[in-house]
């Protein structure tokens, strides 16, 4: 049928891709963004706000995403910066709701207690790392990103990632050993 209205192809092309983007990106990455923010030092009480900020930025910047880096790296790069911002503003003392955060993830009370203590220890030990090492350590050892992907997230070179990771692992090892030794003074390492 002939139409008197010429519809611009570009506008037609707008139908479909972008709105699905936020929905899909959110579904795909919310969980890891949430975890990442927490492990990068965002207080439990701030996680909602921080997660929302990450995806608000994602929403705003999706049009600029050029696909050069994997989408996950791009989203994580935003999360790392948001976490950094929240950390700067944060009031210290962020373990107040730890129990809530891990409630019911363990099958029995003893296991739950162990898990709570371990998560508490995790955050203490992460807090002892400097922010750069902490970020690399969390991305590598907890989110299990490859070193090249971490380099992409942080915009640093690969050697820097390896160097920070080595330092972070060493510090984390030592911190854990100290804690284990303190808890079990009679047991040798």
């Amino acid at each position: 049928m002939a139409s008197s209205i010429v519809y611009p192809a570009e506008a037609v092309a707008e139908v479909l891709p972008r709105p699905l983007a936020l929905d899909g990106v959110y579904r795909e990455h919310f969980k890891s963004v949430w975890r990442l923010l927490r492990r990068l030092g965002v207080a439990v009480a701030q996680l909602d706000d921080a997660s929302q900020d990450v995806f608000l930025i994602v929403h705003r910047k999706l049009a600029d995403f050029d696909g050069r880096a994997p989408l996950r790296s791009w989203v994580f790069a935003i999360a790392v910066r948001v976490a950094s911002d929240y950390r700067r503003r944060a009031v210290r003392g962020r373990t107040e709701q730890l129990d809530d955060a891990i409630a019911d993830t363990a099958p029995n009370p003893a296991r739950l207690r162990e898990l709570r203590e371990s998560v508490e220890q995790l955050h203490e030990m992460l807090g002892e790392l400097d922010d750069k090492k902490r970020t690399v350590f969390v991305l590598s050892e907890l989110e299990q990103l490859s070193a090249p992907e971490i380099a992409s997230v942080l915009g640093v070179n690969l050697n820097t990632v390896y160097s920070r990771l080595r330092g972070a692992k060493k510090s984390f090892d030592a911190a854990l050993s100290r804690r284990r030794a303190a808890r079990s003074p009679g047991v040798g390492r």
């Binding site: 707008e14 139908v15 990106v25 975890r35 950094s84 371990s118 915009g155 692992k169 050993s177």
Partner: protein, 257 residues
């Protein structure tokens, strides 16, 4: 790294996953914030910890940070989407990638290699997060106005006992995507009545791409010269999908003239 440390990390790695309630709550807040044009509260800096890291992203965030107070996100995004013709995201690939993680056999064939194939593999690396509750998808019609649905700031609640997540209806999503691609292709050919017939024939309860279907219908009505129908549909669209980026396409259509 010591074995003891590795065991410790294995123990805690998944101990702080968000619950589905967390995911849904933040999603609602996000949707409300977008609809209300709320800007992010953070001003992400150019630098991480004083060093110029992440430069590929820095400029954009710097502009974002400097932009400060409230912006009309819709206007910004709409302008950006209209101004950048070739920045279309490989979202089809994203969806295909997502489906590939859940239903490998079904999703193997690309729907539209030209438009949807790049960068799919990267999505295979990660497990798919549980989907939203069906009644509250990001793109579903909103029954409340933004002002009555302020961004949720409730503290995260305790993890619910591991209720199995309803699996994403990959076949449904795939059908949706295929429909929209057929509709889009028909519209580009100027075959608006074909597009409308395809939309009419499509029966689904999946609301994931509801806004896209409705926007496509409005464009088809415009092509057919059914301006009054398009206007009515567009008025409904704006009410029901105030946050949809398709709003720009709808408002740029005949329905707004």
């Amino acid at each position: 790294m010591r074995r003891e440390t590795e065991a410790f990390l294995d123990l805690v790695r998944d101990a702080e996953d968000p619950t589905r309630a967390d995911e849904a709550r933040v999603q609602r807040a996000l949707r409300a914030a977008i609809a209300a044009g709320v800007a992010p509260s953070v001003e992400p800096s150019l630098e991480i910890d004083g060093s110029p890291e992440g430069t590929y992203f820095g400029d954009a965030l710097a502009r974002l940070g400097l932009s400060g107070a409230k912006l009309n996100l819709l206007a910004v995004c709409a302008a950006a989407s209209l101004a950048t013709g070739d920045t279309t995201l490989p979202i089809g690939a994203h969806v295909l990638g997502e489906m590939r993680t859940t239903t490998p056999a079904v999703a193997a064939a690309p729907l539209d290699p030209g438009a949807a194939e790049p960068s799919a593999p990267e999505f295979d690396a990660e497990p798919v997060a549980p989907p939203f509750e069906p009644e509250a998808p990001m793109l579903a019609p909103s029954t409340s106005t933004p002002s009555t649905q302020p961004p949720g700031r409730a503290k995260p609640r305790a993890r619910a006992a591991a209720a199995p997540a309803a699996p994403v209806a990959a076949s449904s999503l795939r059908a949706e995507l295929e429909l929209l691609q057929r509709v889009q292709a028909a519209l580009k050919r100027g075959e608006a009545s074909t597009a409308l017939r395809a939309l009419d024939a499509h029966r689904t309860t999946d609301t994931t791409l509801l806004a896209e279907r409705r926007a496509a219908r409005i464009l088809a009505l415009c092509q057919l010269g059914q301006i009054d129908d398009a206007r009515r549909a567009a008025a409904d669209f704006v009410k029901q999908h105030p946050e949809s980026l398709q709003r720009a396409a709808v408002e740029g259509s005949c329905a707004n003239r």
